[in-house]
């Protein structure tokens, strides 16, 4: 105990992360979109200023009432949701929601979802000069809406078109949120990076279904939903591993060949603790996001920050960057 304390005094750890275009986070831990609203609810439990960034709920051009209930069902160590992007629309989000986060000074990343590439462009353009907005996350992977959503996330050309449209209208860092419901996430990652994405985030939820055997029909009103939580963690870690491999020989300038990915990956899927987060970092994530675990334990996201710091101190790691993708470099048996 005493020994550990003396190490922590002696060696401050650099947890900062560079997500590109000048977006530097003080630490690698952020909230996952759709699991923390717009901050006010979570602020009752934690000091949001200690987050690396706050990623807001998926926001659309027009308000959406969301899907009819039931919208959520518990699964083994997970949840299946079909919220359907309920949100007040971009104008009210800018006017009523972002100022709260901006006042705190936590970097705000706005998750946006459109039905067409032009809608993504319109959303991004409206966010471009909003004070407090530090970046945009393109949700091209929502399984819970009729149009857009997953469609863009499963087709590299459509995805690239969305990214290119957004790239033209904003100087903000653009993060593309990838769906795991594809054969090769590496192809998607490369496509969006070549189209101008500054970073990728993964994974969004896995498409799934739960059937009520008594009533002999799916539990969720829309039938299908998105699976998240500890149940998907090994699947998600592997997707990050794959994306890191794919991006190691791709970079924004179209060159390549580096051993390490220059494009930051934000890893997520079932993170409940610093240990879980470190799996993603070692698989290649530069930053991580906590989603479903917040429902169960709203303080998780800050516990992950302190746990990562303590891990680095325990292992004599000066900068978290040393750990990013380290599991690839250790070699496999």
């Amino acid at each position: 105990m005493r020994r550990r304390r003396s190490i922590s005094l002696a060696s401050p750890v650099d947890l900062s992360v560079d997500l590109g275009r000048g977006l530097i986070l003080a630490n690698p831990v952020m909230t996952a979109s759709g699991t923390c609203g717009y901050g006010e609810e979570l602020a009752r439990f934690i000091d949001l200023r200690q987050l690396g960034a706050f990623v807001v709920k998926g926001t659309t051009l027009h308000p959406r009432v969301g899907n009819p209930p039931p919208r959520l069902v518990e699964t083994p160590a997970g949840v299946l949701n079909s919220i359907g992007l309920q949100n007040p629309g971009i104008d009210r989000v800018i006017a009523e929601k972002i100022p709260f986060l901006a006042r705190l000074g936590v970097p705000v990343i706005v998750n946006i979802a459109g039905d067409t590439p032009a809608e993504y462009g319109e959303l991004a353009a409206r966010l471009d000069k909003v004070s407090g907005v530090a970046g945009i996350e393109l949700n091209i992977s929502c399984p819970n809406v009729e149009k857009g959503g997953m469609l863009f996330g499963a087709d590299p050309q459509l995805a690239a078109e969305v990214v290119a449209t957004v790239r033209q209208v904003t100087r903000l860092p653009v993060i593309v949120k990838l769906s795991p419901n594809v054969t090769d996430i590496g192809i998607m990652a490369r496509a969006v990076v070549q189209a101008g994405a500054d970073a990728v985030s993964l994974v969004n939820t896995y498409t799934g279904m739960v059937i009520d055997v008594e009533r002999r029909r799916p539990v969720l009103a829309r039938g299908v939903g998105g699976l998240s939580g500890p149940a998907i963690r090994p699947l998600a870690v592997y997707q990050v591993w794959q994306a890191y491999r794919a991006l190691s020989d791709t970079d924004r300038e179209g060159g390549g060949g580096g051993e390490r990915s220059k494009v930051p990956i934000i890893g997520m899927g079932g993170i409940t603790s610093a240990r879980d987060a470190l799996e993603f970092i070692l698989a290649g994530a530069s930053a991580v996001a906590v989603g479903t675990a917040t429902f169960v334990r709203p303080v998780t996201v800050l516990e992950v920050v302190s746990g990562i710091r303590e891990y680095c101190q325990r292992h004599g790691i000066r900068s978290l960057r040393q750990l990013v993708g380290a599991a690839h470099r250790e070699g496999l048996a």
Binding site: R4, C36, G37, R44, R71, Q86, P230, R297, P298
Partner: protein
Amino acid sequence: MVAAPQLQDAVVTRMERHGSHFFTIGLRAGSIARQAEPGQFVMIAVHPQLAADSGFLAISSSWDPLLRRPFSIYRVNSAEEEIFLLGQATGRGSRILAAAVPGQVYSVLGPLGRPFRVEPGWKHLLLVGGGAGVAPLVFAGERFAARGIAVTVLFGFRNAGSVIGWEATSAWATSRYLVTEDGSAGKKGLVTDVLRRLLASASTTTTSTSSSGCDCGHGPAPTPARFDAILACGPAVMLKATAELARAAGVPCQVSAERTMGCGFGVCLSCVLPRPDGSYALVCQDGPVFASEEVDLSG
């Protein structure tokens, strides 16, 4: 203003089982006990907490089932900083929780949600409860009676074996009515049968006294005949019928609604109940207590 919720590690102080389905659990949860108002609830993890492990902090002993479970605050013992929950062991989570033993530590989040609202000048409340839905009403009755408000209790259960929370009401209720579906305790029938009668007589007489269905043993002390409001909690069909009868009688009615809850504090957007205008209310934040006309209880 409703107090901010807290995340607390709470030691189990008491655990009692009632019949085969119900249990009451006492938890030492200081700030929740101090702040809780009737109608509010807690989200409790169904597995006990593990001791803190440095670096990878204290977490639940299992992630399955993953979600906390919502339970209304049933009683509060302020002196001992205890809260009590009245649970029904129905599915997996509540059955796991029902195995809790004193001394174990459970993670509790609360108090959450909007409480019952009693307006100045209200003199007589009618509490209508069914099954485990009596839990928040017992807390409400205790609190509001202590403020000098007359409280009439009307509780319904399946049968004598599932009567719960009834004993507790004798200390403060002005009149009490008990019904069971099979007549094995109290009157045979549904709460709505008695409710219809109570609302009808309240509108014609000036005073009412304990009537035939009441076994409270009180003398015929007069209570205000008119109910200033009905507070109801129980199965959705009961809530809907109660709200309709209340509306017909012109008595304000507040209902405590139930919905599957992912988080209990407003971030997952899963606990929605439709409003008459087609938008959705969040049961965990806008409720669980609603004025009955605020939400569509069949939605």
